[in-house]
Symmetry: C2
Subunit: 303 residues, 2 copies
């Protein structure tokens, strides 16, 4: 009906393919981005994924934006060399620091997690008071505030850095056994609950007092703490997972460009870490990703 | 599964409704916005719509952004008084001129047509060369270039003002009989084709030479010329209709907020014009909107 719009033929089409089985590249400072990778695998089960966790330099949160921008360039170039059709910066800090530069540098589309999360929050808030919890670097970059207010200038954004949530998520990962949706099952353990409750009150009580009705989990580690955070802020507050929203955008972009994998494509999940402990990465990774990982390798970047 | 996210309870919930049968407010300088209204009615067949066409002050394109911003404030306030739950600025010029101000002023969400169209274009382009055709005011506001590059800083945007397309669309409306999807059926008439072909070549040839693979129809009149424009730029160029994209966003926002109309709601379509010829508005309106209009009224604003 809408003739030109639904015909997503490649511009260089000479009867060319309307699918692309090349993998999607996803990276993060460590495990957090696996929450994005698993949403992509859930929404697009035919897509292959190459994931890189930069564990050797994790966390990115306390680093300068310039330094993180350099990491994004390095890792993005490595992914592009591996033939990915799209790069997802599955880390809020790295998105704030390096998305725009990466988009200008790489020959494939690059998407981050900030804009999809900001859009979901702008659409979800009813009282136009949105909270954002993120790393120090992400909060200081003002990336969410700008992105949300760019979509709706009537929204007031309250951001707060919650660096210890990253530690708690990493600690929970080490303790968890079996697949991990979030840490609800760990909520009663002595390790998580007391530490979490105290810190969560301290971090989240000021946001509650700001009367927010929507809270952006502005760090890809935080979906792992979703049920715990929800328990503190209350059910009236809608929690936005950038991971899920970014996966929707990946699906939308590939579908628009006629670049989805073919229906009969057997996806392949290759994981790489810059950290020394490849086995730990395989074990944690498989639990967050909740699907078998085909290969785990180690990569080193010159510093 | 994603507990807080899927429970879209209103923040003031005391067992309150999860639907909202209030109408959606849509306005434009004239008939163009009816392409947006019809996409909304198609995607959300239970929603009531109050449409205002500011025919008395049409076209907005040649006016200053400040003047148009004043019109947006005036019309938005009128729609809010009529109890709309959401305002759609179904006009690119008015979006560029007044969206941000309206979002800061009105107590209901306000969406425009620029961001949804820009996002669709950023997602669709493969060679990252996007063309935009719009009114002079929209092009001069740089709204599309900013919105597209904000989403992907690697995209080059080529914009051109095509004011005479608005005249042609209006002329086509006057000539057409029966429901109008676009003017394909009129392409062979002496009135449309020679005028259109000559003007279209002049406007679109420079964009073709820029090697664009995606073209944003950055004026809500232009979906009416879609097949004609597509014929000139060729099938390799994906045409983006902001009307359709804005309707998707309306659906997304209302669904996120639990503010869709109930399944058994009988929608009501009320149309208003500031122009003198109410009957002409009813006749043109019903043809573009392609659904019966319940009421057509006249409104006058103090100048």
């Amino acid at each position: 009906m809408e003739s030109n719009e639904t015909t997503i033929a490649p511009p260089d089409a000479g009867g060319a393919a309307t699918f692309d089985n090349a993998p999607i590249g996803v990276f993060d400072s460590g495990f957090g981005g696996l929450t994005v990778a698993r949403e992509i695998a859930k929404e697009l089960p035919r897509e292959s994924i190459v994931y890189l966790g930069d564990s050797a330099r994790c966390p990115y949160g306390p680093r300068s934006l310039d330094e993180v921008d350099g990491f994004v360039q390095q890792i993005g170039a490595w992914l592009v060399e591996r033939g990915v059709k799209l790069v997802v910066i599955a880390c809020n800090t790295a998105t704030a620091a390096g998305l725009s530069h990466a988009q200008q540098t790489f020959p494939v589309p690059v998407i981050g997690v900030v804009e999809p999360g900001a859009r979901a929050a702008a659409h979800a808030t009813k009282n136009r008071r949105v909270g954002v919890i993120a790393t120090k670097a992400t909060v200081e970059s003002d990336a969410y505030t700008k992105a949300i207010r760019n979509l709706d200038a009537g929204i007031t954004v309250f951001s707060t850095a919650t660096p210890r949530f990253v530690e708690i998520a990493e600690q929970g990962l080490r303790m968890a056994e079996g697949p991990i949706e979030d840490f609800t099952s760990l909520v009663s353990t002595v390790y998580i609950r007391p530490a979490f409750q105290e810190i969560a009150q301290e971090y989240l009580e000021p946001l509650r007092r700001c009367d927010i009705d929507t809270l952006v989990l502005g760090c890809t580690h935080f979906p792992l703490l979703k049920a715990l955070i929800g328990g503190v802020v209350g059910r009236d507050v809608t929690l936005i997972s950038s991971a899920q929203e970014a996966a929707h955008d990946v699906a939308h972009i590939l579908s628009r460009r006629g670049a989805l994998a073919s229906d009969d494509h057997e996806p392949c999940y290759d994981f790489y870490t810059t950290g020394e402990d490849v086995e730990e990465f395989r074990s944690f990774g498989a639990r967050v990703f909740r699907t078998d990982i085909d290969r785990v390798g180690r990569v080193t970047f010159p510093s």
